[in-house]
C-alpha cells in the first residue's frame, strides 16, 4: 500500500511517501504564514520524488500543529502517536522516544509492541526547543546546517546559565561582546539544549533502549551530550529523524 504522511510543524513542514514500510519520497519546506497554500506543492513534490502520480496514493495522513491546514487528508493524528508509531516500528527495541520539535520537547513511553503508553510534553516554554536553538544560532550568525561544524571547531565550552530563551539570548550577546569565540558559545548553547532535552528524557527513565527524533536529533553536538547524560542504550532512528512524525502518519495510514 502506498501512503503519504504530512507533518505541518511549527518551524518546518514535511511530506513522506511510503510504499509499505519503505520510504520512497520525502520533501521538507520551512513553515511560513503562507503554508496553507504551499501544502499542495509540498505533497506534489514528495510524490514526484517517489516517481509516482497522485492517483497512486491510497491514504493521506496529517499531523503536527498545522494538521488542520491539510485539505483532503484521510485522517489526522496527534504528533505523539505518529512519532510513537514511527519509533515503535523502525526502532522496535525502544522503550522510549525523546522528540525535540520546533516548539516542544516530548518524551514518549512505548510498550513491547511499540504502542504509546504514556507521554509528557513541554510546550509551555521554548527552552531547549528547536526555536531556542535557532534563535541562539541566529544571534551568533551560525546557520542551522553549520551548527555541528561550528561546535567541532570550538576549543572550549562557554556556558549558558539561563534556561529561558529570552535571558539566554542576552547571555549569548554578552559573551560575543566580551570577545568570546562564536564556536565556543555555540558549544555552550548545544550543551544547554542537551541538558534540557535529557531532563525531559529522564522522566520516563530512559535508562533502557531509547531513540531521539525531531530536527534537533540531527545535531551530533546535542545528541552526544544527551547520551552521556542519560546512559541507557541509544539506538539511532534509521532515517532523517526530522521526518519521524510524517513517517508515522504515513505508517498509520497503512494500518487503518
Amino acid at each position: 500500500m502506498i501512503t503519504l504522511g504530512l507533518d505541518i510543524g511549527s518551524l518546518f513542514s514535511k511530506a513522506v511517501v511510503l510504499d509499505g514500510d519503505d520510504i520512497i519520497g520525502e520533501r521538507m519546506i520551512p513553515t511560513t504564514g503562507n503554508v496553507a497554500r504551499e501544502i499542495p506543492t509540498l505533497m506534489a513534490d514528495a510524490i514526484k520524488a517517489a516517481g509516482l502520480t497522485r492517483d497512486r496514493i491510497e491514504c493521506v495522513g496529517a499531523t503536527g500543529n498545522g494538521q488542520d491546514l491539510v485539505k483532503g487528508a484521510d485522517f489526522r493524528e496527534d504528533v505523539v502517536n505518529c512519532v510513537g508509531a514511527a519509533a515503535g516500528f523502525y526502532v522496535p527495541q525502544a522503550a522510549s522516544v525523546i522528540d525535540v520539535g520546533g516548539q516542544s520537547i516530548t518524551s514518549i513511553a512505548l510498550d513491547e509492541d511499540g504502542e504509546v503508553v504514556n507521554f509528557m510534553r513541554n510546550d509551555k516554554c521554548a527552552s531547549g526547543s528547536g526555536r531556542f536553538l535557532e534563535m541562539m544560532a541566529a544571534k551568533l550568525g551560525v546557520g542551522i546546517g553549520e551548527i555541528d561544524a561550528a561546535v567541532r571547531r570550538s576549543s572550549r565550552v562557554v556556558g549558558i546559565s539561563s534556561q529561558c530563551g529570552v535571558f539566554a539570548e542576552s547571555e549569548v550577546i554578552t559573551h560575543v561582546n566580551n570577545g568570546e569565540d562564536k564556536n565556543d558559545v555555540m558549544a555552550g548553547v548545544c550543551a544547554s539544549v542537551a541538558k534540557m532535552v535529557s531532563a525531559q528524557g529522564r522522566r520516563f527513565g530512559s535508562s533502557g533502549v531509547y531513540t531521539v527524533t525531531g530536527g534537533v536529533a540531527n545535531l551530533d553536538a546535542v545528541t552526544r551530550i544527551v547520551h552521556e547524560k542519560l546512559g541507557g542504550e541509544f539506538q539511532r532512528f534509521p532515517f532523517n529523524p526530522q521526518f519521524a512524525a510524517a513517517i508515522g502518519a504515513a505508517l498509520l495510514g497503512d494500518a487503518d
Binding site: K124, R131, F132, C164, G165, V166, F167
Partner: protein, 262 residues
C-alpha cells in the same frame, strides 16, 4: 541624621532622613566597585546638602556589596534588599502588606507584617514572562515605544487572548494577530493581560493581602496595573516616592529606628 545606601545592578541610591522626614536623596550610575559607589553617591548627597559624614548618626547599607560597605565603615549595619524594599514601602503607607515589584529582569512579591517586617517573598528571575523584559519584547513586536504600550492597551474594548505563556511564543502570537489584521490596541491589551496573569500566579504563592503596592519600572504601565487589580480583585496603590528610592528609604528608616530617632 540617618542614612540608607542601596547599591543596585545599574544604579546606586543614597537617602537621608531626619526626625521630620526625608532630607535629601541622590541617584547615580554604579561604579565597578560597590564600596566606591556607596562612598561616591553618599558623598554627593552630603556635599549637596552642605553636610558631612560626621552628621550621620546611623547608616544602613543594602543591595550589592552591602557587607563590604559596612566593613569599610560606611554603614553600621546591613540588611537584604528585600527587607529594605518591604520596610520602605510599609513606611510610605502603613496599610501596605503586599508589595509587587516588577523590574526589567525579574519580578518579586514581598509580604510584610503589621510592623513592616519581612514575612515572606517569592521571586521569578528564571523566566522572562511576567518581567519587564516581556513588555520590551512585545512593544518591539507591536512596534510601539515601551511608554506607549499602556495607553494603547487602555483604549481597547475587547482584549485578545494570548494562548501562550512563554515570551518567545507570545511574540509569535502577537505577530500572527497583527498579520490577521487585529486592532493594535486589542493586541496591546492582550499583552498586558498576559503579563498580569504571570505576575498574579507568582503573587498567589504568598497569598497577597490588602493593601497592595506596586513598584519597579513596570509600575509605570497603567494598563498592567489595572489588569493586575482585576486579576487579583484588589486595589493597588503607587508609592508616594520614586520607586528606585524605596530600598534606600527603607534602609534609612531602619537606621533611624536603630539610631534612636523617631
Amino acid at each position: 541624621m540617618y542614612a540608607g545606601i542601596d547599591i543596585g545592578s545599574l544604579t546606586a541610591e543614597a537617602l537621608l532622613i531626619g526626625d521630620g522626614g526625608i532630607v535629601g536623596h541622590e541617584i547615580m550610575s554604579v561604579l565597578p566597585n560597590p564600596v566606591d559607589s556607596a562612598r561616591e553617591v553618599m558623598g554627593r548627597l552630603l556635599k549637596g546638602k552642605g553636610l558631612d559624614w560626621k552628621d550621620i548618626e546611623y547608616s544602613v547599607s543594602t543591595g550589592y556589596g552591602r557587607e563590604k560597605i559596612q566593613k569599610e565603615g560606611l554603614a553600621q549595619e546591613n540588611l537584604s534588599e528585600i527587607s529594605c524594599h518591604g520596610f520602605g514601602a510599609f513606611n510610605l503607607d502603613r496599610q501596605v502588606r503586599t508589595i509587587v515589584d516588577i523590574g526589567g529582569q525579574d519580578a518579586k512579591v514581598i509580604k510584610v507584617d503589621g510592623k513592616g517586617k519581612l514575612e515572606n517573598f517569592v521571586m521569578n528571575d528564571k523566566c522572562a514572562a511576567g518581567t519587564g523584559h516581556f513588555l520590551e519584547a512585545m512593544s518591539r513586536a507591536l512596534d510601539v515605544g515601551l511608554a506607549e504600550l499602556g495607553p494603547l492597551a487602555l483604549r481597547s474594548k475587547k482584549p485578545l487572548e494570548m494562548s501562550n505563556r512563554c515570551t518567545i511564543y507570545v511574540e509569535t502570537e502577537v505577530i500572527h494577530y497583527l498579520q490577521r489584521g487585529a486592532a493594535r490596541e486589542d493586541v496591546a491589551a492582550g499583552i498586558t493581560q498576559a503579563m498580569a496573569e504571570r505576575v498574579v500566579s507568582l503573587a498567589k504563592r504568598v497569598v497577597p493581602q490588602n493593601r497592595v503596592m506596586i513598584t519597579g519600572g513596570v509600575a509605570k504601565n497603567e494598563a498592567v496595573k489595572k489588569a493586575l487589580e482585576r486579576a487579583l480583585g484588589m486595589a493597588i496603590v503607587y508609592p508616594g516616592l520614586d520607586p528606585q528610592l524605596i530600598g534606600a528609604y527603607g534602609a534609612a528608616v531602619f537606621a533611624r529606628g536603630k539610631g534612636g530617632g523617631s
